[in-house]
Symmetry: C2
Subunit: 222 residues, 2 copies
Amino acid sequence: MAAANKMNSAEQGAGSSELRAPESRDEILKAAIKLFANRGFHETSMAEVARAANVSKALIFWHFKTKEDLFMAVLNRLLEPYVIDFAEEAGALDEIAQIMQLVELYLMFVRDNASSIRFFVAQLMRGELASDALTGPVMRLYDGYRGLLVDLIGRAQAKALCLKDFPAAAVARMLLSMLNGTLIEMLFAETDHADVASAIAMIRQWLFGGRAGVAKDAPPGL
Amino acid sequence: MAAANKMNSAEQGAGSSELRAPESRDEILKAAIKLFANRGFHETSMAEVARAANVSKALIFWHFKTKEDLFMAVLNRLLEPYVIDFAEEAGALDEIAQIMQLVELYLMFVRDNASSIRFFVAQLMRGELASDALTGPVMRLYDGYRGLLVDLIGRAQAKALCLKDFPAAAVARMLLSMLNGTLIEMLFAETDHADVASAIAMIRQWLFGGRAGVAKDAPPGL
DNA sequence: TGGTTCATTGACCGGATGGTTAGGGATTTA
DNA sequence: TAAATCCCTAACCATCCGGTCAATGAACCA
C-alpha cells in the first residue's frame, strides 16, 4: 500500500525560500518554545509545532524521539540563560551596593525573560511533567540566589548598614517575597517601568533606611 | 439554581449501592473541582470526571451541555467563598489595626483556600479559557482589596502613623507585592506557620516602625 | 557508477477524547 | 393505567493526537 506517488515537483526551482540543512532542528525548537510557553505542554500538539516550524510532523519525531524529548530539549534551551552567575557581577562594592545590584539583576532578569519565566511558573504550578528536571535546576539557582542574599544581608547587618530587627534569613526571605510579588505583577498586570523603579526605591528604603552608599541611583536599564 | 427538592427515600431498601437523586450534579461538580484543580482543564477528561463522580459520562453532558459549561460551573462554585467582605470586618479600630487585620485576612484567606487559589493562578497564567469570566470577578475583588489598602494607608499617613516616604498607592502596591510573594511561597514551598508570623511581623515593622497600636500581637489562627 | 547516509515527507494506525443517541427504569401526572 | 417527565446508562461516532513507516531526493563516498 502507500501511494508513494510523489505529487510534488512543484516548488523545486532551485534555492528560493526552501528549507535548509539540519538547522531545521532549531526551527522546531523555536516554534516549540513559543507554543509550549503560551499554551502549555498538553495543549500543544505536535502537528501544531510542525505547522509553526514549517516542517512535517515526522521530521520532529526524527529529531526528537518523543514529545517529552522535545519538551526536555525546550527546557534545556530555556535554562541556558539562567546560568548567569550572580556572584561575579559585583566586585569591590560594599554590601549595600551588592545587595541592590542583586535586586536589580533579579528584576531585569525577569523583565528580559518574561515569557520563559511565565512558562516555568505555569509548569511549576501543576506537576504537569518532568517536575524534577524542571524543579531541580531552577530551584538550585533560586537557592543559590537566596544564599547570596542571606550572606550579604548578614554581613551588612554585622556592619550595622542594614535593618537588624530580624535574622538575616528572615530578611532575605522577605526580600525575595517582595521580589516575587513584584515579579508576578510584572508578569500579569503590565507594570510600567516607573512602578518597578519605585519598587526598587522602596526596597532600598526598607533595607537601608536613609543611608546612601549605592553607586547609581536610578538603574539605567530599568 | 439547583433543584434541592426531593433527595428523599434514598438508598435504603433494595437499591444497595445505587445512585441517588439530582444531587448527582453536586457529586459531579465536586469531582470536577478536584480534578480541574490539580490537573487543569485540558488534562482532565470527562471520562475521568465521570469515574470520580461515580456517574456515567453521558450524565455529565445531561447536567452540563459541554465541557466548558462544566468548567464555568466549577468556576462559579469556587468563586462563592471569595465574596467575603473585607470592609465589614474592622469596626472601630485605628488605621494601623485595620491594615494589619486586612493583611492577616489576606494571608488566612490564602491559607484556607490554597487549593482553589492554586487553581485560579494556574488558569490565570495561561489565557486557557474563560479569561474574562475568570479575570473579571477575581480582579474586581483584588482591586477592591487594593482600594481599601490605599485608602487606609492614606489615612494612616495623614495621621503620621505610617511610613510617609512614598505615596499611599505605591505603598499599597508594595504591600500587595509582599503579600503575593508570601502567598506564592505558601503555595509552592510549604512555608510553616512561624515563617508566616514572621512575615507579618516584618510587614508591621516596615509599615509602622516601632509603633504598637495593634490589639493582638501574634494572630491566633496563623 | 553505484552505494550509503542524511534529512525529509505523506500516509497510515491504534487509542483516547468530547460529544450524541436511543433507550430504560422510576416517579409524577391525567 | 397510560402518558409524560425526569434521571440515568451503554454503545456509538467523528475527530484528533502521539507515534510509525516506507519511500525519496540530495550529498558524500567508493
